[in-house]
Symmetry: C2
Subunit: 237 residues, 2 copies
DNA sequence: TTAGATTTGTTCGTATGTATC
DNA sequence: TGATACATACGAACAAATCTA
């Protein structure tokens, strides 16, 4: 029986070292020479293992500097339900959300259009940043119709959770009706908030959530840091 | 009664000029001075109208050069079915697909994993570029299990359509099981193929299609030009 | 390659009407 | 009613990028 090639064994060992948090995001791996000594193989064999990890996006290398653990993109499902915290805790990350601004004002044209409001009607607007383990994942801005949910802002401030706040306002269930996605460069404001370089790629999402009886409840824009997030669209659930 | 502000009227007039094809994609609009003269207003008023159109993505400006009609991003639905051509023809674009490479080879680990193959099994792989009206929208690479569909490559070459080719191989229906999306910078190879600047944002999609009885039939990666495509995820259909 | 003209971007200032408190 | 803030609109000057002869 053909035993597994050395380089695959080494690749898997290094990978499990990373998975088991022996190395964290951004940490420098041992040099190729050190790894070669540790495994008792030639440096070329180690290189083949590292190349495979680079190809999988687990690590990245910088000539003259070394090999470093890449920040694993966090999978962010776009299903009917929004399950941000559950999803993060499933992979051992602590999700949090900071609300940087909130106000109630007259809806602008886009908001009126998305939420089916008429001129003059008001919306609650919140802006903020989502974090996983203190790393900013996304910045968001959401608008909710103020008429049906006059106390929404207060509940959001109190609970920090949109879902709970909407529950308190009588919305027991809401689902995502549509999402539009495109890839853009980060503006300097967004780059600053996400702590990424200016012009780094961001995934912009425009989404509309509706209640079970079809009333729009949320019109949201989210800018995800491209290298930290993967959006996944699954068939059912 | 409050009459509409001048700048909104001008914005709508310019927008309808664009909509009515007085100006096409990439066309240069009249200068701010010319528009100001035409509408009998100050240049600032015209600027406010144009700024609104820029904000809506209808036009873009280049300092020293002028204002130009933007190429409207093409909406690309990620539903269960793949309806590339139907979608394009609905907005009056001619969709085409160029296959730049095809081969049959042993599946690599990712392909085996996605398509549930064992080591040594072969896959058909096609690479190519999708166009709308001769503008490259996306580059793609797809892998299909070769075992169940030995003649697939020949059919794809003959018809140019994956759907038709799979039909000819006995697959009457297939749906998208999962899609993973992230935003990246264009590598120089992808940038070259998409005719976009290097490091321009691209939307990378990894998707798996399955037959009605759950067999994986296609493992595909697609790189969309970020400024030419909007992906939309809608609740139903 | 260079110089000048053209065009958009930015920042002042002024004035007026409208909405809000 | 008055005070204040905000949106609209016009004017002038200059900076920066682009185009052209």
């Amino acid at each position: 029986m053909a035993r597994e090639p050395l380089w695959k064994t080494i690749r898997d060992t290094v990978f499990s070292d990373i998975s088991n948090a022996h190395y964290k995001s951004g940490d420098k791996l041992p040099t190729e020479a050190q790894l070669a000594a540790r495994f008792g193989v030639n440096r070329h064999t180690v290189r083949q293992s590292l190349a495979a990890l680079v190809d999988d996006g687990v690590i990245f290398t910088r000539r003259g500097a070394g090999a470093f653990v890449a920040t694993t993109p966090i999978d962010y499902p776009i299903g009917k339900r929004v399950r941000f915290h559950q999803n993060l805790s499933a992979i051992g990350k602590a999700g949090s959300r900071e609300i940087t601004a909130s106000e109630t004002r007259s809806a602008n044209e886009k908001e009126r259009n998305a939420l089916k409001l008429v001129e003059g009607e008001k919306v609650h607007v919140i802006e903020g940043i989502s974090y996983a383990d203190d790393v900013p994942l996304a910045v968001f801005r959401s608008a909710f119709p103020a008429g049906p949910y006059p106390d929404l802002l207060r509940h959001i401030q109190a609970t920090g959770s949109t879902t709970h706040a909407l529950n308190s306002c009588g919305v027991n269930d809401y689902t995502r009706a549509s999402t539009r996605l495109t890839s853009k460069r980060a503006t300097n404001l967004v780059a600053l908030k996400l702590k990424i370089p200016e012009n780094a790629p961001v995934l912009k999402s425009i989404s509309i959530n509706i209640t079970s009886d079809g009333q729009p409840v949320e019109y949201g824009a989210t800018w995800f840091a491209g290298d930290r997030v993967t959006l996944s669209v699954d068939a059912e659930t």
